[in-house]
Protein backbone atom coordinates (compact mmCIF):
# COMPACT_ATOMS: atom_id res chain seq x y z
CA UNK A 1 0.00 0.00 0.00
CA UNK A 2 1.30 3.43 -0.90
CA UNK A 3 1.62 6.22 1.62
CA UNK A 4 -1.41 7.95 0.11
CA UNK A 5 -3.48 4.75 0.30
CA UNK A 6 -2.42 4.18 3.90
CA UNK A 7 -3.47 7.70 4.85
CA UNK A 8 -6.82 7.22 3.25
CA UNK A 9 -7.59 3.74 4.56
CA UNK A 10 -6.18 3.82 8.07
CA UNK A 11 -4.87 7.11 9.35
CA UNK A 12 -7.73 9.31 8.20
CA UNK A 13 -10.57 7.42 9.93
CA UNK A 14 -8.47 6.72 13.02
CA UNK A 15 -7.40 10.34 13.30
CA UNK A 16 -10.96 11.56 12.90
CA UNK A 17 -12.19 9.20 15.65
CA UNK A 18 -9.53 10.42 18.05
CA UNK A 19 -10.40 14.01 17.14
CA UNK A 20 -14.08 13.37 17.96
CA UNK A 21 -13.19 11.79 21.32
CA UNK A 22 -10.99 14.79 22.15
CA UNK A 23 -13.80 17.14 21.15
CA UNK A 24 -16.19 15.21 23.42
CA UNK A 25 -13.76 15.50 26.34
CA UNK A 26 -13.06 19.20 25.76
CA UNK A 27 -16.75 20.15 25.37
CA UNK A 28 -17.73 18.27 28.54
CA UNK A 29 -14.99 19.98 30.55
CA UNK A 30 -15.31 23.44 29.00
CA UNK A 31 -19.06 23.67 29.66
CA UNK A 32 -18.89 21.64 32.88
CA UNK A 33 -21.61 19.31 31.67
CA UNK A 34 -22.83 17.23 34.61
CA UNK A 35 -21.98 13.53 34.50
CA UNK A 36 -25.71 12.76 34.79
CA UNK A 37 -26.28 14.34 31.38
CA UNK A 38 -23.14 13.47 29.48
CA UNK A 39 -20.09 11.88 31.11
CA UNK A 40 -16.70 12.76 29.63
CA UNK A 41 -14.90 10.38 27.31
CA UNK A 42 -12.41 9.46 30.02
CA UNK A 43 -15.18 8.72 32.53
CA UNK A 44 -16.92 6.58 29.96
CA UNK A 45 -13.81 4.58 29.16
CA UNK A 46 -13.03 4.28 32.86
CA UNK A 47 -16.51 2.79 33.39
CA UNK A 48 -15.92 0.49 30.46
CA UNK A 49 -12.76 -0.81 32.12
CA UNK A 50 -14.19 -1.06 35.64
CA UNK A 51 -17.28 -2.98 34.55
CA UNK A 52 -15.56 -4.91 31.76
CA UNK A 53 -16.56 -8.31 33.11
CA UNK A 54 -20.30 -7.62 33.36
CA UNK A 55 -20.31 -5.66 30.08
CA UNK A 56 -18.51 -8.53 28.33
CA UNK A 57 -21.00 -11.08 29.69
CA UNK A 58 -23.97 -9.09 28.52
CA UNK A 59 -22.35 -8.22 25.19
CA UNK A 60 -21.94 -11.96 24.52
CA UNK A 61 -25.66 -12.49 25.16
CA UNK A 62 -26.60 -9.67 22.78
CA UNK A 63 -24.18 -10.97 20.17
CA UNK A 64 -25.54 -14.48 20.50
CA UNK A 65 -29.21 -13.47 20.23
CA UNK A 66 -28.39 -11.24 17.24
CA UNK A 67 -26.55 -14.00 15.41
CA UNK A 68 -29.24 -16.62 16.09
CA UNK A 69 -31.99 -14.22 14.96
CA UNK A 70 -29.93 -13.30 11.92
CA UNK A 71 -29.38 -16.98 11.09
CA UNK A 72 -33.12 -17.61 11.26
CA UNK A 73 -33.66 -14.58 9.04
CA UNK A 74 -31.24 -15.98 6.44
CA UNK A 75 -32.95 -19.38 6.37
CA UNK A 76 -36.49 -18.00 6.17
CA UNK A 77 -35.50 -15.06 3.95
CA UNK A 78 -33.75 -17.23 1.38
CA UNK A 79 -36.55 -19.81 1.33
CA UNK A 80 -39.28 -17.20 0.90
CA UNK A 81 -37.14 -15.16 -1.51
CA UNK A 82 -36.61 -18.17 -3.78
CA UNK A 83 -40.32 -18.99 -3.55
CA UNK A 84 -41.31 -15.46 -4.50
CA UNK A 85 -38.74 -15.22 -7.26
CA UNK A 86 -39.73 -18.64 -8.57
CA UNK A 87 -43.28 -17.94 -9.56
CA UNK A 88 -45.49 -14.92 -10.17
CA UNK A 89 -48.41 -16.55 -8.35
CA UNK A 90 -46.41 -17.05 -5.15
CA UNK A 91 -45.20 -13.48 -5.47
CA UNK A 92 -48.73 -12.12 -5.82
CA UNK A 93 -49.98 -14.20 -2.92
CA UNK A 94 -47.23 -13.55 -0.42
CA UNK A 95 -45.82 -10.13 -1.18
CA UNK A 96 -48.68 -7.87 0.05
CA UNK A 97 -48.76 -9.71 3.38
CA UNK A 98 -44.99 -9.38 3.71
CA UNK A 99 -45.12 -5.64 3.07
CA UNK A 100 -47.99 -5.25 5.53
CA UNK A 101 -46.12 -7.27 8.12
CA UNK A 102 -42.91 -5.39 7.55
CA UNK A 103 -44.59 -2.04 8.14
CA UNK A 104 -45.50 -3.00 11.72
CA UNK A 105 -42.92 -1.32 13.97
CA UNK A 106 -41.17 -4.26 15.57
CA UNK A 107 -40.97 -2.49 18.93
CA UNK A 108 -44.74 -2.93 19.07
CA UNK A 109 -44.35 -6.70 18.72
CA UNK A 110 -41.85 -7.08 21.56
CA UNK A 111 -44.49 -6.97 24.37
CA UNK A 112 -46.43 -9.72 22.61
CA UNK A 113 -43.26 -11.82 22.31
CA UNK A 114 -42.47 -11.29 25.99
CA UNK A 115 -46.03 -12.31 26.80
CA UNK A 116 -45.55 -15.52 24.85
CA UNK A 117 -41.98 -16.44 25.68
CA UNK A 118 -41.22 -14.68 28.97
CA UNK A 119 -38.15 -12.59 29.75
CA UNK A 120 -35.56 -14.94 28.25
CA UNK A 121 -33.47 -14.72 25.11
CA UNK A 122 -36.37 -15.77 22.90
CA UNK A 123 -38.05 -12.36 22.45
CA UNK A 124 -34.70 -10.80 21.48
CA UNK A 125 -33.92 -13.58 19.01
CA UNK A 126 -37.36 -13.34 17.43
CA UNK A 127 -37.25 -9.55 17.25
CA UNK A 128 -33.85 -9.73 15.57
CA UNK A 129 -35.30 -12.26 13.14
CA UNK A 130 -38.52 -10.35 12.44
CA UNK A 131 -36.77 -7.08 11.79
CA UNK A 132 -34.08 -8.49 9.50
CA UNK A 133 -35.66 -11.11 7.25
CA UNK A 134 -37.55 -8.73 4.97
CA UNK A 135 -34.56 -7.17 3.15
CA UNK A 136 -33.17 -10.67 2.54
CA UNK A 137 -36.42 -11.85 0.92
CA UNK A 138 -36.73 -8.78 -1.26
CA UNK A 139 -33.14 -8.96 -2.46
CA UNK A 140 -33.08 -12.68 -3.17
CA UNK A 141 -36.35 -12.35 -5.10
CA UNK A 142 -35.02 -9.36 -7.03
CA UNK A 143 -31.84 -11.21 -7.95
CA UNK A 144 -33.82 -14.15 -9.27
CA UNK A 145 -36.18 -11.89 -11.18
CA UNK A 146 -33.33 -10.14 -13.00
CA UNK A 147 -32.22 -13.20 -14.99
CA UNK A 148 -32.00 -12.05 -18.61
CA UNK A 149 -35.00 -13.35 -20.55
CA UNK A 150 -32.74 -14.10 -23.54
CA UNK A 151 -30.51 -16.35 -21.50
CA UNK A 152 -33.54 -18.07 -20.05
CA UNK A 153 -34.76 -18.69 -23.62
CA UNK A 154 -31.36 -20.06 -24.67
CA UNK A 155 -31.36 -22.50 -21.78
CA UNK A 156 -35.03 -23.43 -22.01
CA UNK A 157 -34.62 -24.17 -25.71
CA UNK A 158 -31.88 -26.61 -24.71
CA UNK A 159 -34.39 -28.34 -22.48
CA UNK A 160 -33.31 -26.84 -19.16
CA UNK A 161 -35.77 -27.25 -16.32
CA UNK A 162 -36.69 -24.31 -14.11
CA UNK A 163 -34.57 -25.85 -11.36
CA UNK A 164 -31.50 -25.95 -13.61
CA UNK A 165 -31.96 -22.34 -14.69
CA UNK A 166 -32.24 -21.36 -11.04
CA UNK A 167 -29.13 -23.29 -10.07
CA UNK A 168 -26.94 -22.24 -12.98
CA UNK A 169 -28.10 -18.67 -13.41
CA UNK A 170 -30.71 -17.40 -10.97
CA UNK A 171 -29.02 -18.22 -7.71
CA UNK A 172 -25.49 -17.10 -8.65
CA UNK A 173 -27.05 -13.98 -10.17
CA UNK A 174 -28.83 -13.17 -6.92
CA UNK A 175 -25.78 -13.71 -4.69
CA UNK A 176 -24.59 -10.08 -4.81
CA UNK A 177 -28.11 -8.94 -3.92
CA UNK A 178 -28.21 -11.54 -1.17
CA UNK A 179 -24.90 -10.53 0.38
CA UNK A 180 -25.78 -6.85 0.01
CA UNK A 181 -28.96 -7.53 1.96
CA UNK A 182 -27.00 -9.39 4.64
CA UNK A 183 -25.11 -6.19 5.44
CA UNK A 184 -28.41 -4.40 5.98
CA UNK A 185 -29.97 -7.36 7.77
CA UNK A 186 -27.16 -7.90 10.30
CA UNK A 187 -27.36 -4.24 11.35
CA UNK A 188 -31.13 -4.49 11.68
CA UNK A 189 -30.92 -7.77 13.61
CA UNK A 190 -28.55 -6.13 16.07
CA UNK A 191 -30.94 -3.19 16.51
CA UNK A 192 -33.84 -5.62 16.97
CA UNK A 193 -32.02 -7.63 19.64
CA UNK A 194 -31.05 -4.53 21.62
CA UNK A 195 -34.54 -3.00 21.33
CA UNK A 196 -36.08 -6.22 22.67
CA UNK A 197 -33.59 -6.34 25.55
CA UNK A 198 -34.41 -2.74 26.41
CA UNK A 199 -38.12 -3.55 26.46
CA UNK A 200 -37.63 -6.45 28.80
CA UNK A 201 -35.06 -9.19 29.16
CA UNK A 202 -33.02 -10.91 31.83
CA UNK A 203 -29.64 -10.30 30.18
CA UNK A 204 -27.98 -8.44 27.34
CA UNK A 205 -26.50 -5.01 26.72
CA UNK A 206 -29.96 -3.44 26.35
CA UNK A 207 -30.97 -4.77 29.75
CA UNK A 208 -27.67 -3.67 31.29
CA UNK A 209 -28.15 -0.14 29.95
CA UNK A 210 -31.64 -0.07 31.38
CA UNK A 211 -30.33 -1.14 34.81
CA UNK A 212 -27.43 1.32 34.69
CA UNK A 213 -29.79 4.12 33.76
CA UNK A 214 -32.11 3.23 36.66
CA UNK A 215 -29.11 3.35 39.00
CA UNK A 216 -27.95 6.71 37.51
CA UNK A 217 -24.73 5.04 36.35
CA UNK A 218 -24.64 7.19 33.25
CA UNK A 219 -20.98 6.43 32.33
CA UNK A 220 -21.92 2.72 32.16
CA UNK A 221 -24.80 3.57 29.81
CA UNK A 222 -22.37 5.33 27.51
CA UNK A 223 -19.79 2.58 27.85
CA UNK A 224 -22.46 0.14 26.67
CA UNK A 225 -23.25 2.42 23.73
CA UNK A 226 -19.60 2.31 22.69
CA UNK A 227 -19.53 -1.48 22.94
CA UNK A 228 -22.73 -1.62 20.87
CA UNK A 229 -21.21 0.48 18.11
CA UNK A 230 -18.01 -1.58 18.09
CA UNK A 231 -20.03 -4.81 17.89
CA UNK A 232 -22.14 -3.28 15.12
CA UNK A 233 -19.02 -2.45 13.13
CA UNK A 234 -17.62 -5.96 13.68
CA UNK A 235 -20.79 -7.71 12.54
CA UNK A 236 -21.02 -5.47 9.50
CA UNK A 237 -17.35 -6.00 8.65
CA UNK A 238 -17.67 -9.79 8.82
CA UNK A 239 -20.64 -9.84 6.43
CA UNK A 240 -18.92 -7.36 4.12
CA UNK A 241 -15.85 -9.63 4.08
CA UNK A 242 -17.95 -12.69 3.27
CA UNK A 243 -19.61 -10.70 0.48
CA UNK A 244 -16.26 -9.78 -1.07
CA UNK A 245 -15.09 -13.34 -0.80
CA UNK A 246 -18.04 -14.87 -2.66
CA UNK A 247 -19.11 -12.23 -5.15
CA UNK A 248 -15.85 -10.66 -6.24
CA UNK A 249 -17.10 -10.64 -9.82
CA UNK A 250 -19.78 -8.12 -8.93
CA UNK A 251 -17.13 -5.66 -7.73
CA UNK A 252 -15.13 -5.78 -10.94
CA UNK A 253 -15.35 -2.03 -11.52
CA UNK A 254 -13.27 -1.55 -8.38
CA UNK A 255 -10.57 -3.96 -9.47
CA UNK A 256 -7.53 -3.07 -11.48
CA UNK A 257 -7.73 -4.95 -14.74
Amino acid sequence: MSWGGKTEKLIAPLGFTILLLLLWEVVCRAFSIPQMILPTATETFAALWTFRAVIFDNALVTLWTTVVGFGLAIVVGVALGIGIGWHRAIYSAVYPILVAFNSIPKVAVVPVLILWFGLGAMPAILTAFLISFFPIIVNVATGLATVEPELEDVLRALGAKKMQIMRKVGIPRSLPHFFGSLKVAITLAFVGAVVAETAGASKGLGKLMLDAQAAFQVPVVFACLIVLSVLGILLYAVTALVERRYTGWAFRSQQNL
Binding site: E148, E150, D153, V154, A157, L158, W249, A250, R252
Partner: protein, 270 residues
Protein backbone atom coordinates in the same frame (compact mmCIF):
# COMPACT_ATOMS: atom_id res chain seq x y z
CA UNK B 1 -38.11 -30.35 -51.72
CA UNK B 2 -36.85 -31.75 -48.44
CA UNK B 3 -37.27 -29.13 -45.72
CA UNK B 4 -35.42 -29.10 -42.43
CA UNK B 5 -37.47 -26.42 -40.75
CA UNK B 6 -41.04 -25.91 -41.78
CA UNK B 7 -43.79 -23.68 -40.49
CA UNK B 8 -47.18 -24.31 -41.95
CA UNK B 9 -49.95 -21.69 -41.59
CA UNK B 10 -48.86 -20.82 -38.05
CA UNK B 11 -50.76 -18.30 -35.94
CA UNK B 12 -49.98 -17.14 -32.46
CA UNK B 13 -51.48 -14.45 -30.30
CA UNK B 14 -50.05 -13.48 -26.96
CA UNK B 15 -52.51 -13.41 -24.12
CA UNK B 16 -54.85 -16.10 -25.46
CA UNK B 17 -57.07 -16.35 -28.51
CA UNK B 18 -58.38 -12.80 -28.19
CA UNK B 19 -54.95 -11.33 -27.40
CA UNK B 20 -52.51 -9.47 -29.58
CA UNK B 21 -51.93 -11.40 -32.78
CA UNK B 22 -48.16 -11.67 -33.28
CA UNK B 23 -48.03 -13.90 -36.36
CA UNK B 24 -50.86 -15.10 -38.54
CA UNK B 25 -50.80 -17.54 -41.43
CA UNK B 26 -47.03 -17.73 -41.25
CA UNK B 27 -45.56 -20.35 -43.57
CA UNK B 28 -41.95 -20.88 -44.48
CA UNK B 29 -39.58 -23.72 -45.05
CA UNK B 30 -35.82 -23.90 -44.80
CA UNK B 31 -33.69 -26.65 -46.34
CA UNK B 32 -31.03 -28.58 -44.50
CA UNK B 33 -27.78 -26.65 -44.48
CA UNK B 34 -29.43 -23.55 -45.84
CA UNK B 35 -28.70 -20.08 -44.53
CA UNK B 36 -32.03 -18.30 -44.22
CA UNK B 37 -32.51 -14.68 -43.20
CA UNK B 38 -35.77 -13.18 -42.00
CA UNK B 39 -36.26 -9.44 -42.36
CA UNK B 40 -39.23 -7.19 -41.79
CA UNK B 41 -40.50 -4.01 -40.18
CA UNK B 42 -40.02 -3.75 -36.44
CA UNK B 43 -42.60 -5.58 -34.40
CA UNK B 44 -43.40 -7.99 -37.23
CA UNK B 45 -43.01 -11.06 -35.04
CA UNK B 46 -39.45 -12.00 -35.98
CA UNK B 47 -38.64 -12.87 -32.39
CA UNK B 48 -41.88 -14.80 -32.13
CA UNK B 49 -40.69 -16.83 -35.09
CA UNK B 50 -37.56 -17.71 -33.09
CA UNK B 51 -39.59 -18.80 -30.09
CA UNK B 52 -42.00 -20.82 -32.20
CA UNK B 53 -39.28 -22.67 -34.09
CA UNK B 54 -37.37 -23.56 -30.93
CA UNK B 55 -40.50 -24.77 -29.18
CA UNK B 56 -40.45 -22.11 -26.48
CA UNK B 57 -44.01 -21.12 -27.33
CA UNK B 58 -46.75 -23.24 -28.87
CA UNK B 59 -48.80 -21.84 -31.74
CA UNK B 60 -52.58 -21.70 -31.45
CA UNK B 61 -52.90 -22.74 -35.07
CA UNK B 62 -50.68 -24.49 -37.62
CA UNK B 63 -47.78 -26.92 -37.43
CA UNK B 64 -44.08 -26.51 -36.95
CA UNK B 65 -41.58 -29.25 -37.73
CA UNK B 66 -37.82 -29.38 -37.35
CA UNK B 67 -35.76 -32.23 -38.76
CA UNK B 68 -38.89 -34.13 -39.72
CA UNK B 69 -40.38 -34.04 -36.23
CA UNK B 70 -43.31 -31.93 -35.05
CA UNK B 71 -42.23 -29.36 -32.47
CA UNK B 72 -44.21 -29.59 -29.24
CA UNK B 73 -41.63 -28.33 -26.79
CA UNK B 74 -38.01 -27.22 -26.50
CA UNK B 75 -35.70 -28.94 -28.99
CA UNK B 76 -32.12 -29.40 -27.97
CA UNK B 77 -30.72 -29.65 -31.51
CA UNK B 78 -30.93 -25.87 -31.66
CA UNK B 79 -28.37 -23.27 -30.66
CA UNK B 80 -29.51 -19.72 -30.03
CA UNK B 81 -27.75 -16.37 -29.89
CA UNK B 82 -29.35 -13.01 -29.23
CA UNK B 83 -28.26 -9.40 -29.58
CA UNK B 84 -27.54 -9.33 -25.86
CA UNK B 85 -24.63 -11.77 -25.33
CA UNK B 86 -25.94 -12.48 -21.79
CA UNK B 87 -22.72 -14.14 -20.68
CA UNK B 88 -22.56 -14.90 -16.97
CA UNK B 89 -20.10 -12.53 -15.28
CA UNK B 90 -19.08 -15.04 -12.60
CA UNK B 91 -17.94 -17.61 -15.14
CA UNK B 92 -14.88 -17.45 -17.32
CA UNK B 93 -15.46 -17.31 -21.05
CA UNK B 94 -14.64 -21.02 -21.32
CA UNK B 95 -17.11 -21.94 -18.57
CA UNK B 96 -19.72 -19.73 -20.18
CA UNK B 97 -19.33 -21.52 -23.47
CA UNK B 98 -19.62 -24.88 -21.76
CA UNK B 99 -22.89 -23.99 -20.04
CA UNK B 100 -25.12 -25.77 -22.61
CA UNK B 101 -23.12 -28.96 -22.05
CA UNK B 102 -24.26 -28.91 -18.44
CA UNK B 103 -27.85 -29.11 -19.66
CA UNK B 104 -28.05 -31.03 -22.93
CA UNK B 105 -27.89 -34.83 -22.85
CA UNK B 106 -25.79 -36.89 -23.42
CA UNK B 107 -23.14 -34.26 -22.64
CA UNK B 108 -24.54 -33.56 -19.16
CA UNK B 109 -23.89 -37.17 -18.14
CA UNK B 110 -20.45 -37.33 -19.72
CA UNK B 111 -19.15 -33.90 -18.70
CA UNK B 112 -17.93 -35.02 -15.29
CA UNK B 113 -15.72 -37.83 -16.52
CA UNK B 114 -14.72 -36.43 -19.90
CA UNK B 115 -14.13 -32.84 -18.93
CA UNK B 116 -10.75 -32.56 -20.69
CA UNK B 117 -12.27 -33.67 -23.96
CA UNK B 118 -15.01 -31.02 -23.67
CA UNK B 119 -12.57 -28.29 -22.68
CA UNK B 120 -10.52 -29.13 -25.76
CA UNK B 121 -13.68 -28.89 -27.83
CA UNK B 122 -14.61 -25.52 -26.32
CA UNK B 123 -11.12 -24.26 -27.01
CA UNK B 124 -11.31 -25.39 -30.60
CA UNK B 125 -14.62 -23.55 -31.04
CA UNK B 126 -13.03 -20.45 -29.51
CA UNK B 127 -10.22 -20.77 -32.03
CA UNK B 128 -12.77 -21.00 -34.86
CA UNK B 129 -14.16 -17.57 -34.00
CA UNK B 130 -10.72 -16.05 -33.44
CA UNK B 131 -10.74 -16.08 -29.65
CA UNK B 132 -7.90 -18.55 -29.13
CA UNK B 133 -6.44 -18.20 -25.65
CA UNK B 134 -9.22 -16.00 -24.30
CA UNK B 135 -11.03 -18.83 -22.50
CA UNK B 136 -9.64 -17.93 -19.08
CA UNK B 137 -10.78 -14.32 -19.33
CA UNK B 138 -14.03 -13.18 -17.76
CA UNK B 139 -16.66 -11.82 -20.16
CA UNK B 140 -16.36 -8.30 -18.78
CA UNK B 141 -12.71 -8.32 -19.75
CA UNK B 142 -13.69 -8.80 -23.40
CA UNK B 143 -14.80 -6.17 -25.93
CA UNK B 144 -18.36 -6.17 -27.26
CA UNK B 145 -17.34 -7.97 -30.44
CA UNK B 146 -15.44 -10.61 -28.48
CA UNK B 147 -18.41 -11.14 -26.18
CA UNK B 148 -20.61 -11.69 -29.21
CA UNK B 149 -18.09 -14.20 -30.58
CA UNK B 150 -18.24 -16.04 -27.26
CA UNK B 151 -22.01 -15.93 -27.48
CA UNK B 152 -21.76 -17.66 -30.87
CA UNK B 153 -19.45 -20.26 -29.36
CA UNK B 154 -21.95 -20.97 -26.61
CA UNK B 155 -24.65 -21.46 -29.24
CA UNK B 156 -22.42 -23.88 -31.18
CA UNK B 157 -20.77 -25.92 -28.45
CA UNK B 158 -23.23 -28.82 -28.51
CA UNK B 159 -23.02 -29.11 -32.33
CA UNK B 160 -26.59 -27.98 -33.01
CA UNK B 161 -28.06 -28.86 -36.37
CA UNK B 162 -29.95 -25.57 -36.37
CA UNK B 163 -28.57 -22.20 -35.37
CA UNK B 164 -31.07 -19.46 -34.58
CA UNK B 165 -29.67 -15.94 -34.50
CA UNK B 166 -31.77 -12.98 -33.35
CA UNK B 167 -30.02 -9.78 -34.46
CA UNK B 168 -26.75 -11.04 -33.04
CA UNK B 169 -24.70 -8.20 -34.49
CA UNK B 170 -27.17 -5.39 -33.88
CA UNK B 171 -25.29 -3.72 -31.05
CA UNK B 172 -21.85 -3.78 -32.66
CA UNK B 173 -20.00 -1.09 -34.57
CA UNK B 174 -19.85 -1.36 -38.38
CA UNK B 175 -16.33 -2.79 -38.60
CA UNK B 176 -16.83 -5.39 -35.90
CA UNK B 177 -20.12 -6.36 -37.50
CA UNK B 178 -18.46 -6.99 -40.87
CA UNK B 179 -15.77 -9.02 -39.13
CA UNK B 180 -18.42 -11.18 -37.48
CA UNK B 181 -20.25 -11.62 -40.78
CA UNK B 182 -17.04 -13.23 -41.96
CA UNK B 183 -16.94 -15.41 -38.84
CA UNK B 184 -20.47 -16.70 -39.22
CA UNK B 185 -20.04 -17.12 -42.99
CA UNK B 186 -16.97 -19.32 -42.43
CA UNK B 187 -18.59 -21.27 -39.59
CA UNK B 188 -21.57 -22.03 -41.79
CA UNK B 189 -19.30 -23.12 -44.63
CA UNK B 190 -17.19 -25.31 -42.35
CA UNK B 191 -19.90 -26.95 -40.24
CA UNK B 192 -22.81 -27.05 -42.65
CA UNK B 193 -25.52 -26.45 -40.07
CA UNK B 194 -28.80 -24.76 -40.92
CA UNK B 195 -29.09 -21.11 -39.94
CA UNK B 196 -32.10 -18.89 -39.43
CA UNK B 197 -30.95 -15.32 -38.95
CA UNK B 198 -33.46 -12.72 -37.82
CA UNK B 199 -32.24 -9.23 -38.59
CA UNK B 200 -33.31 -5.76 -39.61
CA UNK B 201 -30.05 -5.15 -41.45
CA UNK B 202 -30.84 -5.88 -45.10
CA UNK B 203 -27.21 -5.88 -46.19
CA UNK B 204 -26.44 -8.43 -43.51
CA UNK B 205 -29.32 -10.59 -44.72
CA UNK B 206 -28.34 -10.40 -48.38
CA UNK B 207 -24.64 -10.90 -47.71
CA UNK B 208 -25.05 -13.99 -45.54
CA UNK B 209 -28.19 -15.75 -46.66
CA UNK B 210 -29.09 -18.20 -49.40
CA UNK B 211 -32.65 -17.04 -49.10
CA UNK B 212 -34.23 -13.95 -47.56
CA UNK B 213 -37.78 -14.06 -46.20
CA UNK B 214 -39.58 -10.73 -45.93
CA UNK B 215 -42.23 -10.54 -43.24
CA UNK B 216 -45.25 -8.24 -43.16
CA UNK B 217 -46.05 -5.92 -40.30
CA UNK B 218 -47.95 -7.40 -37.38
CA UNK B 219 -49.54 -9.86 -37.53
CA UNK B 220 -46.46 -11.23 -39.25
CA UNK B 221 -46.42 -13.60 -42.19
CA UNK B 222 -43.98 -14.16 -45.04
CA UNK B 223 -44.84 -11.88 -47.96
CA UNK B 224 -41.80 -12.50 -50.09
CA UNK B 225 -39.02 -15.01 -50.56
CA UNK B 226 -35.89 -13.92 -52.36
CA UNK B 227 -33.18 -16.35 -53.39
CA UNK B 228 -29.69 -14.88 -53.20
CA UNK B 229 -27.40 -16.79 -55.50
CA UNK B 230 -24.05 -15.05 -55.17
CA UNK B 231 -21.29 -17.63 -55.32
CA UNK B 232 -19.74 -18.74 -52.03
CA UNK B 233 -17.42 -17.98 -50.40
CA UNK B 234 -18.57 -14.40 -50.70
CA UNK B 235 -15.89 -11.74 -50.28
CA UNK B 236 -16.80 -8.83 -48.05
CA UNK B 237 -16.48 -6.25 -50.85
CA UNK B 238 -19.49 -7.91 -52.44
CA UNK B 239 -21.58 -5.48 -50.42
CA UNK B 240 -20.28 -2.60 -52.55
CA UNK B 241 -21.26 -4.23 -55.87
CA UNK B 242 -24.18 -2.90 -57.89
CA UNK B 243 -25.99 -6.30 -58.12
CA UNK B 244 -25.81 -6.59 -54.37
CA UNK B 245 -27.29 -3.17 -53.80
CA UNK B 246 -30.05 -3.82 -56.29
CA UNK B 247 -31.27 -6.72 -54.19
CA UNK B 248 -30.99 -4.67 -51.02
CA UNK B 249 -33.07 -1.92 -52.61
CA UNK B 250 -35.65 -4.37 -53.84
CA UNK B 251 -36.07 -5.81 -50.33
CA UNK B 252 -36.11 -2.36 -48.83
CA UNK B 253 -39.01 -1.33 -51.02
CA UNK B 254 -40.94 -4.43 -50.08
CA UNK B 255 -40.50 -3.66 -46.40
CA UNK B 256 -41.45 -0.01 -46.93
CA UNK B 257 -44.70 -1.24 -48.51
CA UNK B 258 -45.31 -3.56 -45.58
CA UNK B 259 -44.78 -0.69 -43.19
CA UNK B 260 -47.08 1.60 -45.14
CA UNK B 261 -49.81 -1.06 -45.03
CA UNK B 262 -49.33 -1.36 -41.31
CA UNK B 263 -49.71 2.40 -40.86
CA UNK B 264 -52.86 2.36 -42.96
CA UNK B 265 -54.43 -0.42 -40.90
CA UNK B 266 -53.28 0.79 -37.56
CA UNK B 267 -53.93 4.53 -37.20
CA UNK B 268 -53.08 4.60 -33.50
CA UNK B 269 -49.75 2.94 -32.79
CA UNK B 270 -49.91 0.88 -29.62
Amino acid sequence: MESFVSLNDVSLSYGGEQGLLAVSGLSMSVRKGEFAAVVGPSGCGKSTLMKLTTGLVRPQKGQIAVDGKRVFGPISIVGMAFQNPSLLPWRTTLDNIMLPLEIVEPHRQRLGRHRDEYVAKAESVLELVGLKGFGAKFPWQLSGGMQQRSNLCRALIHDPALLMLDEPFGALDAFTREELWGVIRDLHAAKGFTVILVTHDLREAVYLADRVFVMSARPGRVIQERTIDFARPRPIDLIYKAEFNEIVHELREKIAEARADAVAYEPAPS
